[in-house]
């Protein structure tokens, strides 16, 4: 194992060339420092035609914008993106293509050699001299390293970047056998920035109304029983539902079998309280989750492949009962957009959206029917992230629409429990009664790339430039 004192020193030992495929993970989210440090050094060495494979891109990643301005980046393949990179791509496009994958799809593509990574740069909060990597030890932990595991196992060269070197690591997520180099940095990442964003239970009354309605649907669906499994995101409404879900487990003297996905303090507390038996954690969303992963043996890290790869028969979400998902747009066939806004700026991406929607038995979309005077339900989506056939129902503050094409029995089940449902067209009409019918937008002319399904299918095209209204 070669240990380097700086990225500059590291680069002397790597097969650097124009056109490199390089990958990063986003476990530090907006507290990541590694991507910027590596790219800036690559620019110093005058490398061009780079192809980036970060699992997520956050506002902190301004070096990508610099690389795009200097014409050093050709293609970007990622699962999630927001911030200045999105704004730049919307205004200027990309020489190559932007491919928006799912978390499970990214792991599958790497494992099946569709994606070939030349060098994986993996930030870890601690590395052992044998090359094992952990996100739990050290001064600046980031928690689970699920998105980096496939990169470590399959990249041609693997580099761990860390600020903490230890003698040994027990049960490391990144195995030393996969690692070629260790590079020491002043800091591996900023733990305090992992939880930046909306990682708190909503107090917004509309959000809480949606959460209460979602909990009613969950209870009435027939899936809420002993050993139920559940996943929700880290959005403020999702967290409110998670809290209600946990409270209901307690009230009904039930125990969930497992929670999956990104894990927060709310999930960790439920494990501590004995309301769920296992947490399968691909990504820690806050410091409470990191502490739990460190100390609770029933809180287990998992790779993105074990989480959601469609080729992995052991994937945890294959046994998932209920998933709560968001939407920025939904159409009358329940197709969902969480990738771009109506100006075609990338505002997020699938992450595990499509993976979990497809695999879970009950995939619930929660979203306000009207947001900033714009109706949620559209005749035509700006982009399609998740096919509607995977969605069971849409829950808004003004009503619940069930997708009969997904589950023809759900509507009857809910109505038998006293839950009124509407068809999605009626829900759209309700919104239009308040907002009127928005004028259709014409999409920009230039192709930016595409949204890739978890099995490499193309779900939609992405565009850049001004809308041609």
């Amino acid at each position: 194992m070669i240990i380097h004192q700086s990225i500059k020193d590291l680069f002397k030992h790597l097969p650097l060339k124009d056109g490199l495929n390089i990958s990063f993970h986003h476990h530090y989210r907006n507290g990541d420092v590694v991507l910027n440090a590596v790219l800036n050094e690559l620019y110093t060495q005058d490398l061009k035609a780079l192809n980036l494979y970060p699992s997520g891109i956050f506002p902190v990643h301004t070096s990508i914008v610099e690389g795009l301005k200097q014409h050093r980046i050709n293609n970007i393949t990622t699962n999630y993106m927001n911030g200045p990179v999105s704004a730049y791509l919307k205004a200027h496009g990309l020489p190559g293509e932007l491919i928006m994958q799912t978390h499970g799809g990214r792991a599958r593509a790497i494992e099946e050699k569709e994606t070939v990574i030349d060098i994986a740069f993996i930030a870890v909060s601690a590395a052992s001299k044998a090359g094992d990597g952990s996100g739990l030890l050290g001064q600046r932990p980031c928690g689970a390293l699920g998105y980096a595991v496939a990169d470590a196992q399959h990249a041609r060269k693997v580099v761990l970047l860390t600020d903490t070197l230890v003698e040994t690591i027990e049960n490391p997520e990144i195995k030393g056998a996969d690692v070629d180099h260790i590079c020491l940095l002043e800091t591996a990442g900023n733990t305090s920035q992992i939880a930046s964003g909306t990682l708190s239970v909503t107090r917004d009354p509309v959000g809480l109304k949606i959460a209460r309605e979602a909990m009613r649907v969950i209870k009435a669906s027939g899936y809420f029983k002993q050993d139920v499994s559940f996943q929700s995101g880290a959005g403020s409404v999702s967290l409110a539902i998670t809290q209600m879900f946990v409270d209901q487990l307690k009230q009904d003297h039930l125990t969930a079998s497992f929670f999956t996905g990104g894990i927060t303090g709310v999930h960790a507390q439920a494990l501590k309280d004995g309301l769920v038996r296992k947490l399968y954690d691909v990504q820690c969303f806050d410091e409470a989750a990191i502490e739990s992963l460190k100390n609770n043996p029933n809180h287990e890290p998992m790779s993105a492949s074990l989480y959601a790869s469609p080729s992995n028969e052991q994937r945890k979400i294959k046994a998932l009962d209920i998933v709560i998902l968001g939407a920025s747009e939904i159409d009358l066939d329940f197709n969902v957009n969480v990738t771009s806004d109506s100006y075609h700026t990338i505002i997020g991406g699938s992450g595990g959206h499509q993976d979990t929607a497809e695999d879970a038995k009950l995939s619930i979309i929660v979203a306000p029917l009207i947001k900033a005077r714009t109706p949620l339900i559209k005749h035509t989506l700006t982009s399609r992230t998740t096919p509607g056939k995977h969605i069971a129902c849409l829950i808004t503050e003004r009503g619940i629409a069930v997708n009969d094409a997904h589950d023809p029995t759900l509507k009857t089940t809910l109505e038998a429990q006293g839950i009124q449902t509407l068809d999605i067209q009626s829900l759209m009409d309700k919104a239009h009664a308040l907002t009127l019918v928005p004028a259709p937008f014409k999409r920009p002319k230039h192709r930016l790339g595409y949204i890739e399904g978890r099995r490499k299918d193309v779900l939609d095209t992405l565009y850049w430039g001004e809308r041609d209204d």
Partner: protein, 271 residues
């Protein structure tokens, strides 16, 4: 019959647009304390436009107008063509009622009793022909009287207003709880319910579910009421014994009211 009366500011479009999604039984659109002097016209205009085109069908809507004579006049002009349940009159006493009468508006009125003068005139106010209900305004009353809010200090005003309202056969609505902690709200609402209040004001939409739940008849109360009405109908008698208790007309009437309320709010056990 309403359990919750939710105050929403009249000059906030998002709140007006969502007034029917918060699950309140009634909303009180506020032109008074929640709206600064410079925003009064905006509140009137927004409310007028919104209610003209989007009157929610199954929601009781009131508007709290201003007690100042000129502001009151402008408020009432803005409301005159709207199909609302009534207006809420702040600082309600005999003087403000005279002011309201002078405007020649013919809305039904819920008066807020929130001044010492209002409190000592509450029985007379309750009997006024335009009055449909009374709200206790504890925060203003507290300020005027100099007391600290507690169940003890609220006991007298709550009781006095309640007796006045019951005697006049009008609604008595409990004062809002101004903190946003749920357990404090529950405690405050339970105290009011124990005295005989059947409804309470909310000053935040997140208070509504708690209030609705606490002022809902319990399943046990409903079962007892159904039993009373069933025996009354079977025997065609206004006076009988049931489960060791004597039942007469007031008890039968109260049971019928409770069943009606349970039907409206979907308490389990109502056919």
């Amino acid at each position: 019959m309403a359990r919750s009366y939710l105050f929403i500011p009249g000059n906030v479009p998002r709140m007006l647009q969502n007034m029917d999604v918060f699950d309140a039984d009634a909303v009180i659109i506020d032109f008074e304390d929640a709206v600064s002097l410079t925003d009064k016209d905006e509140a009137r205009h927004l409310t007028q436009l919104f209610l003209r085109d989007h009157l929610p069908p199954s929601l009781d809507i009131y508007v709290r107008i201003n007690s100042d004579a000129q502001l009151m006049k402008d408020d009432l002009i803005a409301l005159e063509t709207l199909d609302i349940q009534g207006i809420v009159l702040p600082k309600c006493d005999q003087d403000t009622l005279k002011e309201y009468e002078a405007s020649q508006a013919n809305f039904r009125v819920i008066g807020i009793i929130e001044t010492p003068q209002g409190m000592i005139e509450v029985e007379k106010t309750a009997m006024h022909p335009c009055i449909d209900g009374l709200i206790l305004g504890a925060e203003d009353l507290k300020k005027e009287m100099g007391f600290t809010r507690s169940s003890q200090t609220l006991y007298y005003p709550r009781q006095r207003l309640l007796y006045a309202a019951k005697a006049a056969n009008i609604k008595a609505i409990d004062t809002p709880f101004t903190h946003l902690d749920e357990s404090g709200l529950s405690e405050d609402a339970c105290e009011a319910a124990a005295l005989g209040y059947e409804s309470k004001c909310a000053i935040h939409p997140n208070q509504v579910p708690t209030i609705n739940q606490l002022f809902l008849p319990s399943e046990a109360d409903l079962m007892a009421a159904l039993k009373i009405v069933k025996k009354h109908e079977q025997t065609n008698s206004m006076r009988f014994s049931l489960d060791g208790k004597m039942i007469d007309k007031p008890v039968i009437d109260a049971a019928k009211q409770l069943i009606e309320k349970s039907k409206r709010y979907g308490v389990k056990g109502v056919l």
